[in-house]
Amino acid sequence: MDISDLARLSSVKKDYLLKLAKEGKRCDGRKFDEYRDIKIESNILKNAEGSARVKIGNTMVIAGIKLEIGEPYADSPDKGALSTSAELPPLASPEFEPGPPTPEAIELARVVDRGIRESEYIEMEKLCITPGEKVWIVFIDLHIIDYDGNLFDTCLLAASAALQNAVIPNARFGLGENAPLPVRSPPVSCTFVKFDNAIVVDPCADEEEVADARFTVAIDENGDIRAMQKGLSGRFTIEEIKNNIKRAQFHASNIRKLLGEKK
């Protein structure tokens, strides 16, 4: 390694990360295809109907589930409704500013929503109270607490964990006793970023900063694809996408084991 080629300041990130990537290395010592440590804790809040705190590396997200009674969508009068939102408060990063949701926050919420909705994780047919009039609306609120990359996977995992042990608050609305929210098997997503020709899974904040392109795919318990999102303005080849999906199937099945069984 020729010192004069070596990147200068550690904050001149792109050169430094590209240099490491050429040697198959990442800035935190991980392999390209390696996730950081994942920690999941559920039922951590009292007022929420369901909750979970998930950490992937230093990134931390708290998902809260609230249920309210409202009107169903016109095209599905006997099914519950789902609404997902993400807050990126200034607490989580020096780069987050207060204000209405940015396009990034909206994209994040919609991709997580798609993962939950398309995997049919929540048994929406069981959330009908009076067809055409009253159904349960499930609100997933993702609250980013500490940002160090890969909000997509952290948020979907937090939402899945929070829903897994959530409760229908019948008592509060005079509809009898509380009951568990009926759910099937949770979706798990994997996110990759590409810089130069290196593709790495579970990007940290530095890697996201220099990334040209990003790819997230949500996988169900059978290894089938339920949602995908390519992000940022760079490009992927077809081979790269196919390979990402295969790696995602592998990672998703391992991460799903961390969610464990419904209690």
Binding site: M1, I3, S4, L6, R8, L9, S10, S11
Partner: protein, 216 residues
């Protein structure tokens, strides 16, 4: 010797003492304004901060990164809430107005000295000292500014120790940036030692542990 941690508002001295760094006088008493370690030097009571941003002082040598190039100078990021300005007059080069980009471009790294700070904390940097230069090789790493004194050590002892065992050239900026040059493996070892000092800065027996880690 017990190293006492004090908190903002902790009583650290009475009228017989003088308020030093990280302290303030209220009435007859002296209180700490920082979370840090109490140090008494003669009549002065100081608090060595355990955290916090770099606050520049005139005379500090710093490692800065060029943020913007103007026709009459450069804006330098000195890892502080305040950017600093390096004017053509304070640079080591002779040049005409508008020729600044020939000498320093955005993202170039320099060693400079804080030459002036006014009341509004507008900061001037100068490169007229002989240790000042543009950094063209080696690597530069970041540590917390509050740990710089420990990396240097009493009378430079810790820094000498690292240099001795790794044979590296090491320059420590007061603002928490460090420039290293040497053989790859030795540079990596030096960086590991510095990161360890950053983590364990105020523990006892650190010097021995660092020497052991460096192979002594």
């Amino acid at each position: 010797m017990i190293r006492k941690i004090v908190l903002p508002g902790s009583l650290v001295g009475d009228k017989s003492k003088l308020p030093g760094k990280g302290t303030f006088r209220e009435g007859e008493n002296i209180y700490s304004s920082r979370l840090g370690i109490l140090e008494e030097k003669g009549k002065y009571v100081n608090v060595i901060p355990l955290s916090g941003v770099y606050i520049p002082n005139v005379g500090d040598t710093i490692i800065g990164v060029v943020e913007e190039v103007y026709r009459n100078g450069w804006i330098i990021d000195i890892k502080s809430p305040y950017s600093a300005f390096l004017s053509i007059e304070n640079s080591p080069w002779e040049m005409g107005y508008g020729e600044t980009s020939k000498y320093l471009k955005e993202k170039d790294i320099i060693i400079g000295i804080i030459s002036n700070i006014d009341e509004a904390k507008n900061i001037d940097v100068s490169m007229k000292d002989k240790q000042c230069r543009k950094i063209e090789d080696g690597i530069v790493i970041d540590i917390q500014p509050s740990k710089v004194p420990r990396v240097i050590g009493k009378k430079g002892s810790m820094l000498s120790t690292i240099k001795r065992y790794t044979g590296c050239w090491i320059f420590v900026g007061q603002n928490g940036r460090i420039w290293l040059k040497g053989e790859d493996e030795k540079v990596n070892l030096a960086v590991e030692a510095i990161k360890k000092i950053e983590k364990e800065a105020h523990t006892f027996g650190l010097t021995e542990r660092i020497i052991k880690m460096l192979g002594g």
